[in-house]
């Protein structure tokens, strides 16, 4: 068994710069628990109750991959896959498509400086499973990655590699509710004029302690939009590290969390503008109830010379009781002089006027609080590109809010 520092990974300690609010210990545990042995067990592992999320997307036209512990299932004859999407199951020791070498580990490696992220490195070095996807053209239907059974049972290290070719377009929806926990890394390369839309849904009651990293390199005139929806797990950290090395690139990251009880969810976002004319947006909202904790740490970093950068960052929480808390670290680090960047963080309780207005129309206090909470969160869905997906997420979000309040 590996332990924190013996393994040579120098895992973060409690209190380290980006670990002031969330304790890293449990992620060390999850990372070390995830071993090949567990992989075998998973096949027979009792599947936790299906996540609400899985059902919700059923009525959308999509290309779906269901990930199993040692393979992944999809319709091999689907012409959309044959023609424009190369997708491989990345199972170490079995087959490894050559194209991924260009991306694998490279993006993460590039961005290790100035802040090393040992958990991500650990995942990349040790993961046995993952998914490699290369969009070569515009893929109109969303691609759904359903972690299904893979997330049942023990902890997992999952390393996904995603490449979007020049001018190609990919919408990827990752659905899955880890049962015990996961240390997962996505490495994403969006080539010039490419468009990558990403939605992660990890919803439903579980015991999961999950750590997600998404490393992305967004090239000239390319765009990345990533939205995440979390709720139901005791501990989640969602980390985005995005680099815009060329001009006119665009990165949006957004997320919603519904927290109820003794849970913590942490969004940590680091966007580095290197090229000219880049735009970035960070939009996060959380509803926190019964002592839930929300964390947001976000940085817009603008290199010297990255003129005309437009950076926006806003994190907001609605606290439904006095024990809940929202801990934030919004940062701007700007070395160019001709930029427009803003950041803001707010934290409040339900607005009394709005509550009274709804109640005066016959809506009960509890229902009014649910409606206002949902309204608060729903605004973030505007960040998502696909209206069809938004419509589906609205239903899911409604269920989540009604369950948590």
């Amino acid at each position: 068994m590996l332990t924190a520092n013996k393994s040579g990974y120098n895992f973060p300690q409690r209190g380290d710069e980006y670990w002031k609010f969330t304790k890293p210990d449990q992620f060390v545990e999850i990372s070390e628990m995830a071993s090949p042995v567990n992989l075998e067990n998973v096949i027979d592992a009792k599947s936790p109750s299906q996540t609400v999320a899985t059902h919700k997307l059923d009525d959308i036209d999509r290309i779906e991959f269901v990930l199993h512990p040692n393979e992944f299932l999809f319709d091999q004859s689907d012409s959309r896959i044959v023609n424009s999407l190369q997708a491989e199951f990345n199972y170490r020791h079995r087959r490894k498509p050559s194209w991924i070498d260009e991306v694998s580990g490279a993006i993460e490696n590039r961005i290790q400086k100035p802040i090393p992220r040992p958990f991500a490195k650990y995942c990349i070095d040790h993961s046995q499973i993952g998914f490699c996807m290369w969009a070569k053209k515009e893929i109109t239907d969303p691609v759904v990655l359903n972690y299904g059974k893979c997330f049942a049972g023990g902890a997992h290290l999952i390393h996904n590699i995603i490449r979007v070719s020049s001018g190609a377009k990919l919408t990827l929806v990752e659905i899955g509710n880890p049962w015990s926990g996961v240390n997962m890394v996505n490495e994403v390369h969006v080539e010039p004029r490419g468009e990558f839309n990403h939605i992660r849904i990890a919803v439903g009651n579980s015991e999961a302690r999950s750590l997600f990293h998404q490393y992305a390199k967004v090239d000239e005139s390319a765009s990345l939009k990533s939205f995440s929806l979390f709720g139901g797990a005791p501990l989640t950290r969602n980390e985005h590290i995005i680099e815009l090395p060329e001009d006119d690139a665009n990165a949006h990251v957004s997320g919603v969390f519904v927290g109820n009880g003794n849970v913590l969810q942490d969004d940590t976002v680091f966007i580095r503008h290197i090229g000219l004319n880049g735009t970035s947006r960070q939009v996060f909202r959380k509803v926190l109830n019964n002592g839930a904790t929300g964390v947001f740490q976000g940085k817009i970093h603008v290199n010297p010379g990255s003129q005309k950068t437009d950076g926006y960052q806003k994190s907001q929480a609605l606290l439904l009781d006095e024990k809940s808390q929202f801990l934030v670290k919004p940062e701007l680090e700007i070395y160019a002089d001709d930029v427009s960047c803003s950041h803001g963080s707010t934290c409040g309780s339900i607005d009394n006027n709005s509550l009274y207005y709804l109640r005066s129309r016959g809506i009960s206090k509890d229902e009014a609080i649910s409606m206002l909470s949902l309204g608060f969160l729903k605004e973030v869905l505007d960040e998502i590109e696909s209206e069809e997906i938004v419509a589906n997420l609205e239903d899911l979000l409604t269920d989540m809010v009604n369950n948590a309040i």
Binding site: R359, S360, G362, M371, L372, E379
Partner: protein, 251 residues
């Protein structure tokens, strides 16, 4: 129907007495107008009737059909048939106007033990009423009052009233911010609700609204109390002479 006796209300956060002994009796089928200078307590009265918190009631009572309602929550009063068209309707981002209407409608139906209606029938009902009030379909899709113009907000209040069909309607300065056409539409909406078992209280500054919604009784509120009541002609008198006559008679 509605009986208010010696009602006192203190604004809790300021420990400030606002209502200082209001007496008002409104019977079924009646339309009452309450006029009065700014700051006399008209909106406060409407809030206390509808159950807003933040007020202490040291003295007095409000009964509705012989039931003491002062302890009831706003939603319970709504279920009894109370409706307040707000002077300043609240903007609620993220909550769709249609969703809001349907939730309110169903909540009230449920509280009254009545059957809910199907989604499509409800949609038809709202569309018809909205059309009468010149409220376009886009306003139904948008978040409640969010980014609405002053007039749109007021019309949206009347739409809610028309859909929820309350038995006691209180309209707080619904005419302010309305142009003449909008005022006609809104008044028509209110008049359509006039019925022998429904009471309406219209709070206004201006007599002109009362040309469209003809009151049975006009009250004048000054400094937290109703100081004078009369017929519809009282409104005209106020329009022509202001409150000075009434105030000097008081002194």
């Amino acid at each position: 129907m509605l009986i208010i006796e010696n009602l006192h209300a203190i604004l809790e956060e300021e420990s400030k007495p606002i209502l200082k002994g209001v007496n008002l009796r409104v019977g079924p089928g009646e339309v009452h107008a309450i006029m009065g200078p700014n700051g006399s307590g008209k909106s406060t009265l409407s809030y206390v009737i509808s159950g807003r918190d933040g007020y202490e009631i040291p003295e007095g009572s409000i009964t509705y059909n012989n039931e003491d309602i002062l302890e009831l929550e706003p939603e319970e009063r709504a279920a009894l048939g109370f409706f307040l068209a707000f002077q300043y309707p609240v903007e609620i981002p993220g909550v769709g106007n249609m969703t809001f209407l349907r939730t309110a409608f169903n909540a009230i139906k449920k509280a009254r033990g009545e059957e809910e209606i199907s989604a499509s029938d409800f949609l038809k009902l709202v569309r018809t009423k909205a059309k009468e009030l010149n409220i376009g379909p886009d306003l139904l899709k948008r978040p409640v009052n969010y980014g609405f113009s002053g007039g749109e907000k007021k019309r949206n209040e009347i739409l809610q009233m028309a859909v929820l069909e309350p038995s006691l309607c209180v309209l707080d300065e619904t005419d302010s911010g309305l142009d003449i056409d909008a005022m006609k539409q809104v008044s028509a909406g209110v008049n359509a609700l006039r019925s022998p078992d429904r009471a309406i209280i219209v709070i206004t500054h201006y007599q002109r609204l009362l040309n469209h919604i003809q009151p049975d009784i006009v009250h004048v509120m000054v400094d937290g109390g109703i100081v004078h009541s009369g017929g519809a002609e009282l409104a005209l008198d106020i329009e022509n002479n202001g409150y000075s006559n009434i105030l000097s008679n008081l002194n």
